[in-house]
Symmetry: C2
Subunit: 337 residues, 2 copies
Amino acid sequence: MSDRARNPTIIDVARAAGVSKSVVSRVFTGQGSVGTRTRERVLAAAAELGYVVNATARAMVARRTYTVGVFVRDAATPFYGHVLTAMQERASHHGYRVVTATGSGRFELAEERHALETLVQLQVEGLVVCSGLLPASDVATFAARIPTVVAGRPETHADVTSVFCDEDAGGAGLADHVADLGHHRVAVIGLPPGRSLTMAPRTAAMARRLRERGVEVVEVAGGLVDEVPRLVPEIRAHPGVTAVMAPSDLHAVRLLEALAVAGVAAPGELSVTGYDGVGPLRTPLIGLTTWRQPVAEIGAHAVDAVVGLLDTDTVPPHHRSLAGELVVGRTAAPPRR
Amino acid sequence: MSDRARNPTIIDVARAAGVSKSVVSRVFTGQGSVGTRTRERVLAAAAELGYVVNATARAMVARRTYTVGVFVRDAATPFYGHVLTAMQERASHHGYRVVTATGSGRFELAEERHALETLVQLQVEGLVVCSGLLPASDVATFAARIPTVVAGRPETHADVTSVFCDEDAGGAGLADHVADLGHHRVAVIGLPPGRSLTMAPRTAAMARRLRERGVEVVEVAGGLVDEVPRLVPEIRAHPGVTAVMAPSDLHAVRLLEALAVAGVAAPGELSVTGYDGVGPLRTPLIGLTTWRQPVAEIGAHAVDAVVGLLDTDTVPPHHRSLAGELVVGRTAAPPRR
DNA sequence: TTGTAGGCGTTATCAC
DNA sequence: GTGATAACGCCTACAA
């Protein structure tokens, strides 16, 4: 780094104001008492010098940082973006600041681990993990020492508190809708648990409920959103399939695009459902039939939970499941014949 | 906070490994030399105790944090979400971590100032400001001491480096497209500079270019996305208007929704254009005619710029303007008659 | 009300 | 190769 002017410290301010550094400290912490005139002099000197409290030094002695660390898998995704915003809002409400870490976009486990450790190094007082990838065992490593909450995925690890949308109920509810529409043969784009701890259970729930309803299920192995177009021929190869259930809105939209390219009418020939119901894709212009997750509530409750863990002695880990809601759109309709 | 087990320090590790704390420090910094067997003992003891480096303590003596602070206005918005992801990626490439702050969603100036100060308190080495709201004067306050880059808005303050998409060229390019389509009377939803430092210049550029092209412009005063529906009657009140240029994709989509509700065909009766071209709204399902901003590049260059400022002695502030690109969609067509 | 002194966990500079 | 020791900027008794 170039040798820029060193940041002013309380000592500089003290000297400028002609007092001792303890007085300056008291002025900025609000602890202890300072004379009115003295306080003014200190404040003036601080403003003059452009003094800003050094949070790292303060953290050392206070042994507190008033900071919660939030790890989100990918801020560019509407789901995580909204959760993040809600958390930020809620944390500042509680008087905490949030520092965020994300994987660097390549979604590798090692990177996510590293990002989480970074947060711990930063001495966050609590941790919110918001990733469908990182296994509970990794999270539990830190949970023993730092209050930790897993948000947005159905985590039931005994040592870790969690807040999530009920994926079973969501998958089943959406499946019921599709069954109600009268479909008899439905493709479900499923993901292995290793790929996504959120999408795997919800697609499993979809398939399960469909079968319970007497609907024949064609399981299609999905992956990243960009791989969706490749699935079209595979789906079309199964005669009689009149609906496709995708693991997320992003997947569903990509599927609709690919179907349009392939000249397949939706929902005419093929009904399509998504999952998430958050962000711009909720637009009626697309009219996606989906399941809405209560993102804002997930974020808010997650932060409330960590803060609760912070303030209270020994709150046992608990799991909170939030209900989502069916969004009836135009992309799923009764089968043609 | 409940009295949880104190985090282990190098002293604990040193004791467990039977060495002095200096040795432990060397093991974790990689500076200086340690015997192979000693190193192993230290590593084992650290793992056993669950030792994690205390970044705040390290920052104190090293006077470095290897941290860049990023302030984004609203992570829930596709534009900021993508920029954020790009920055994160780029920063980790340079060996820096990113701490993020956002306003708490209410978009008040005081909050944004506070968030920025928080970043400074955290001793970030560089600052990236990504908000269409915060005035340059506020940014300049910190820029004097901390390398600062403004990203994503056309900032030409002499003391602050900036990276942005050329709003003039973008607005003009999009306007040219609309004029080329043959529209003679066009409504532009404009925003005052006080509301958005990005949208104001781009809509101004749209109007300017339209006029240069001999197109009659109807200026409509816009605001937040949610206020867009209220604009429909106003726009319809102007006879002969065959196209509307919105300040962002979010605005445009909301407008299209409102038009659909009002039974106005788009682009049949009214063509609509957006701006940004990022995120899920790029879907061909909507086919929005818009101007694509190079978000990833903006994020990457912004981080490169701060890091450059960090590493080099005295780089003068500079402004980098990136070109966007016209996205021809289906929501803008030649006027009917 | 104000000042002094000690220490938070770490790194860096010395001796050994 | 290893171990003392002095900072780093701040807070907090405690003394004045």
